[in-house]
Amino acid sequence: MLKKERRKMRVRAQIVEHLKIGRAYYLLGLHAPEIARTAEAGQFINIRCAETLDPLLRRPFSFYSIDRDAGIIKILYEVKGRGTEILSKYKVGDFLDIMGPLGRGIDELDNGGIQVILLGGGVGGAPMAALAEKLHECGMRAIRVLLGASTMDRLIPFDVFKSLGIEVSAATEDGSLGYKGFVTDLLKKQLEKFERKDCLVYACGPKEMLKAAAEICRNKGVKCIVLMDALMACGVGACQGCALKVRDEDGVETYVRVCTEGPNFDAREVVWE
């Protein structure tokens, strides 16, 4: 465990790519070979967006893609508040102070036979891109991607998935692209189609979506791994700020740290409040 955690580090990484994607998102590529070397899908980096004391804290972002050979990691982010607003102003060639890779990677992928569904709501689709690449690398081919958003502008790009030959279904609340409604409706349909339980769902997105996905999977008896969001101060396990309530098999409730024990959790353990 300690050995694994030793890989965490803090580096100044140069920006090699910074593109606006659609109307709401940015793709940020960073040259950070030390981090890329050990980074896993599902993990994240903590970026210092501003040099000043306001905003004060780093901001966490999941890996969107990891290129070990080139030493390049990418994130896909949405401008939400001041931190991401400032981040969006950085130019290719600038350096960013980042910490990573943080959190646990997703490592339950060996079960080759299983059918995998990757579910992403809004920018929550970002970590699914890294996950798809990893699954594909591991030889997994039975992958389906379901992406949802309020409107088409807020869907993440399909290209990563398409280039891997993975089928993508989209849902938008306003019907501007794909199915009109919630992406969890697509999940329900998909699971009904499968009629089998050796299926694994990974989900990331707004809490309400995760909660709905968790319930759908539970009803179907399908395992669902959720990538949880939390306000974070340290990102390394020191502050206990990112507490999430979980319930073990005996029904005992405790708090775990999203940054350290997560960010990915078995949806059945999460206490949805």
């Binding site: 300690l2 804290l57 340290c234 020191a238 502050c239 206990q240 700020g241």
Partner: protein, 306 residues
């Protein structure tokens, strides 16, 4: 040009190679940051406050950023003294600098029990009494705002252990000097200040406080001027050494506290932003001393009022 600078400091028998330590609750048990740098370069480590029983802590959200500050209501989440002694202390083998253990309780008896149990632990260099955590309903605030209670607590804990005792003071009082003097009268070997300042942030969309516990403690650069003022007042009023903290990010910040009268300084919130800040601060202190011809950093303690 490079002269020898003496950064070492002895606080109540705790020998530190330099005056830079980590603040309780912001550095876990000293193990989370082992990956980032050699923690043994610090003056000392103060661990997260330990209570008698395991505490789950407060409901999330537990933290929210504020202008140049961090509001938290962790609620003393910790695994309890048994786990700490059995599981954590053995892991601390790689830490060779003094380990100061912060303890917290709801009643004086709890502090006394914690103190007497830790008294037997070789790895423990000193105890810090957290009497000022604003996130615990029972105890907490009462201790820290009553001079009488603080003195009583200190006297009781001193009887239970031969370890040096550091009392950590709350800023949420009318007259911190009075409390500091009570701790000194009770036999405290040193004082730590300040703990966090009571605060609240409201989520206007939800029309309720952001934190699950509603109120929290404000830390970070925002409170630095408040902390410096209190260190200035307290260090002139008591004869025991003061450990200063509150928003320290840089060597210049640390020097403010030292010149205000602190014998050592602790880095808290800023660890989260810049985990190697304590090392940068140590380097910066050395550099300042060299530039200013200061041979021993102890010369600077309280120099702004001496």
């Amino acid at each position: 040009m490079s002269i020898e600078v003496d950064l070492s400091i002895d606080i109540a028998g705790i020998k530190m190679q330099n005056p830079v330590i980590t603040a309780s609750g912001t550095f876990g048990f000293g193990l989370d940051y082992l990956h980032y740098y050699d923690v043994n370069k610090l003056g000392a480590v103060v661990v997260k406050s330990i209570t008698k029983n395991k505490r789950e802590g407060n409901p999330p959200p537990r933290i929210i950023e504020t202008p140049a500050g961090l509001l938290n209501s962790i609620g003393l989440a910790n695994p309890g003294i048994d786990f700490f002694i059995k599981e954590v202390i053995p892991q601390m083998d790689s830490i060779r600098i003094p380990v100061i253990v912060s303890i917290a309780g709801d009643e004086i008896e709890e502090y006394v029990e914690l103190a007497s149990r830790l008294d037997k632990q070789d790895r423990v260099a000193a105890l810090e009494l957290n009497i000022s955590c604003p996130n615990v309903k029972k105890g907490g605030l009462e201790f820290s705002t009553s001079a009488e209670q603080v003195e009583k607590l200190t006297v009781s804990v001193r009887k239970a252990t031969s370890l040096p005792i550091i009392v950590k003071l709350s800023p949420n009082v009318t007259d911190i000097v009075e409390i500091a003097q009570a701790a000194a009268a009770g036999g405290a070997h040193a004082l730590s200040l300040i703990n966090t300042v009571l605060g609240m942030v409201i989520d206007v969309k939800m029309r309720k406080p952001v934190l699950g516990n509603k109120k929290g403690g404000l830390a970070g650069p925002a409170i630095r001027p408040i902390a410096v003022r209190m260190v200035w007042d307290v260090s002139q009023a008591v004869d025991i050494p003061v450990i200063g903290m509150g928003g320290i990010c840089t060597a210049e910040d640390a020097l403010q506290f030292i010149m205000a009268g602190a014998s050592a300084v602790a880095v808290g919130t800023w660890n989260f932003v810049n985990p190697t800040a304590p090392l940068d601060i140590i380097d910066g202190l050395k550099e300042f001393c060299i530039k200013e011809g200061v041979k021993d950093i102890k010369e600077l303690i309280g120099c702004s009022w001496k």
